[in-house]
């Protein structure tokens, strides 16, 4: 009895994964590819959300079109090409690596190299090692002994 109840409950959660059952493709492999692609496509009216996460109407429209194109036999590159021809690179959540985005992609490396150079110069210019301390004078020695409590009473 308990097992049946648990199974019934697990059926309820199934609806939580699906974006919208009416939108889904019947071919599970193709549906999986479509869902993977949704994660790379920016919802153009949201703040940094993919169309996989968005309930906006235009995100739904894009999901419908992407699923349709998968069904027509187009691949990921062709579909992303279709979208960027209309929305530009903005529609991609991960900017492509090319001349215009070179600075964007390489900036972490540049910052690391610059920081490394600064650290290297700073270390190189540090005085080699502090010269060995000069021996204490008699006066200093007396004061030291007093402070350390080793001076005879």
């Amino acid at each position: 009895m308990r097992l049946i109840l648990l199974l019934a409950l697990s059926l309820l959660t199934a609806s939580a994964w699906a974006i919208d059952d009416r939108e889904r493709l019947s071919d599970p492999a193709l549906e999986e590819r479509a869902r993977a692609l949704f994660k790379d496509v920016r919802c153009v009216v949201c703040q940094n959300q993919s169309i996989d996460d968005s309930e906006a109407q235009i995100a739904k429209d894009m999901r419908v079109i992407i699923r349709e194109q998968f069904q027509e036999g187009k691949d990921e590159t062709q579909i992303l090409g279709f979208l960027t021809a209309r929305y530009g690179d903005y529609v991609l959540l991960e900017p492509p690596f090319r001349a215009g985005t070179l600075l964007l992609w390489l900036s972490p490396l540049i910052v690391l190299l610059a920081g490394g150079a600064v650290a290297w110069v700073a270390l190189r210019n540090r005085p080699a090692t502090t010269a060995a301390a000069a021996p204490l004078s008699a006066e200093e020695q007396a004061r030291f002994d007093k402070l350390m409590g080793s001076d005879p009473k």
């Binding site: 153009v44 009216v45 109407q57 235009i58 429209d61 894009m62 419908v64 079109i65 960027t84 021809a85 209309r86 929305y87 530009g88 903005y90 110069v121 210019n125």
Partner: protein, 187 residues
């Protein structure tokens, strides 16, 4: 370290400050819209799509051939449910009076009856209106919302795009000069 390099190092914070100040100053430009997404359609051929007529409107739908021929073709994406479209409408009526301008509308995700009522109430600036029930034409034009307006030359190439409603000021200072430039009609 050599004297020269050290002098340059002292200048570095000032240089960084100047670079940042220039960047911030450019960012303050009141004409800059940080949300504007540059349209890859500008300087490219307009999407060649056919759209059915709006039922009960008494105007033809959109055919790809309509995007060429006139000195300037204006394609306006609107909807009766869109409040900014209501604000923009008088400017579209003015634009339709401009010589050499062909006005085409795309009714985005709308109800035909509501669209007919909208144009009856506010006037009809369009020669033809295509009905985009499922928002497909919207995606083909790369819009993020309505209203959006595209300005095409006689070859059917997109030359300018305006996102959001065209207010009276924008029409006078920005849109009309562009329209005259595209149509080759100065003055």
């Amino acid at each position: 370290m050599r004297k020269g390099t050290k002098g340059l190092l002292f200048l570095l914070p000032s240089l960084i400050f100047v670079a940042a100040a220039v960047g911030f100053f450019l960012g303050l430009d009141p004409d800059r819209d940080p949300r504007a997404i540059p349209s890859p359609l500008v300087d490219h051929q307009a999407p060649e799509i056919s759209l059915p007529a709006v039922e009960g409107l008494g105007l033809p739908g959109i055919e790809p051939a309509m995007l060429k021929g006139a000195p300037v073709t204006v394609v306006n994406l609107w909807a009766s449910w869109c409040a900014p479209c209501r604000i923009e409408h008088p400017q579209l009526m003015d634009l339709a009076e401009e010589p050499g301008v062909r006005m085409l509308g795309i009714d985005y995700r709308d109800q035909p009856a509501a669209a007919v009522r909208f144009l009856k109430e506010l006037g009809n600036p369009f020669e033809a209106v295509g009905f985009d029930q499922e928002g497909r034409a919207g995606i083909d034009w790369g819009i993020t919302g309505v209203p959006e307006t595209f300005f095409l030359d006689s070859e059917g190439r997109v030359r300018h795009r305006h996102t959001g409603p065209i207010d009276a000021d924008t029409l006078k200072n920005n849109i009309l000069p562009r329209v005259r430039e595209i149509g080759g009609l100065t003055g």
